[in-house]
């Protein structure tokens, strides 16, 4: 099933520049309903308060990391089916394995291109 262009997307990153980049690419790809969170805790509270169809998260963040956010999402009955894409500078094999074990939907290594993000979106929502 292709991604619904109206679905609400949550971009989680402590860097405002990265949030803006991802938001911009998503807009160009036809997804205008994008919200932002600065860390895992902020993201979890938004995810529990509203209905989101997709989460794009960084790994390294203060307060709560992306991997902990992913585990919290997968452990929550109401949130566990939300696809989570990790976009991170953590490019070690161990990181990728850890994310897979935690239930990540796909994984992008920074720096990345719009084409890579689009390709991952298609894979997640096919």
């Amino acid at each position: 099933m292709p991604a619904d262009p109206n679905m609400k997307i949550l971009v989680v990153d402590d860097m405002s520049t990265m949030r803006r980049i991802v938001k911009n690419i998503m807009k160009q790809l036809g997804f205008a309903n994008v919200e932002e969170a600065e860390n895992g805790v902020d993201a979890l509270s938004k995810l529990r308060a509203e209905s989101f169809g997709f989460v794009i998260s960084d790994w390294n963040m203060p307060v709560m990391t992306g991997i902990d956010l992913l585990r919290a999402i997968r452990a929550d009955d109401k949130l566990k089916t939300i696809p989570v894409l990790m976009v991170t500078a953590e490019a070690q094999k161990e990181n990728l394995i850890e994310a897979i074990q935690a239930g990540v939907s796909n994984y992008i290594v920074k720096p990345f291109t719009a084409e890579v993000l689009q390709e991952k979106l298609i894979k997640i929502f096919k």
């Binding site: 860097m15 520049t17 990265m18 690419i25 920074k110 720096p111």
Partner: protein
């Protein structure tokens, strides 16, 4: 038994002398090292400034790129509308030419997205800087431990202001506090007859 004790006292004496000499050397080397470490918090602050500066620059490039993207989207919409009007009145050659221009604009859209994604360098730089700051802070903690363990005398040890590190820090500080803005530079230039 007596010979054994004498030998033991000799060895203990030698060990004591070695320890005393090591402590003296430690104090000689350690004191300037501790003085130098006074520069570390300042250096760390400058590293963090680097993050702020690249972030501000990146956000400005993003703002301008987004303006161009919006303008380009409006122009593309307008072009598409003109192309359909021209096709409706059978001006096919003109419609084809405008259609080609619209396609060229589409290529620029990709370039603009590439500019946005290329700006992710700022995030990578910021992450590395944060790691470097953590390392510097850790080194500083270790130096403090050294002061405590070896009782290195910090009093009377003036913070290191000579040498390369001191000079670099002075330059960095000056760039923050005494750097002039363009309007002041223009004012000074005009005072010297530049128009």
């Amino acid at each position: 038994m007596l010979n054994g004790n004498v030998k033991l006292y000799d060895e203990l004496g030698e060990l004591a002398r070695y320890l005393e000499s090591a402590m003296r050397k430690m104090t000689e080397v350690g004191a300037p090292m501790v003085a130098n470490s006074a520069q570390l918090p300042q250096a760390t602050a400058h590293l963090l400034d680097l993050n702020t500066m690249t972030e501000e620059g990146t956000l400005e490039v993003m703002r301008l790129t987004e303006i161009i993207q919006d303008n380009r989207a409006r122009a593309a919409k307008e072009l598409a509308s003109v192309v359909s009007t021209l096709e409706a009145v059978d001006c096919r050659t003109l419609a084809a030419r405008l259609g080609k221009t619209a396609q060229d604009l589409m290529h620029d859209e990709k370039h603009l997205i590439d500019i946005m994604t290329a700006l992710s360098f700022q995030d990578l730089v910021a992450q590395r800087v944060k790691k470097l700051v953590t390392i510097v802070e850790d080194v500083q903690c270790k130096l403090v431990e050294l002061v405590v363990v070896f009782g290195l005398n910090q009093e009377g040890t003036a913070p290191e202001t000579q040498g390369k590190a001191g000079e670099m820090l002075r330059q960095l500080e000056a760039s923050k506090s005494t750097a002039i803005k363009q309007d002041l530079a223009d004012e000074l230039l005009s005072e010297f007859g530049f128009k």
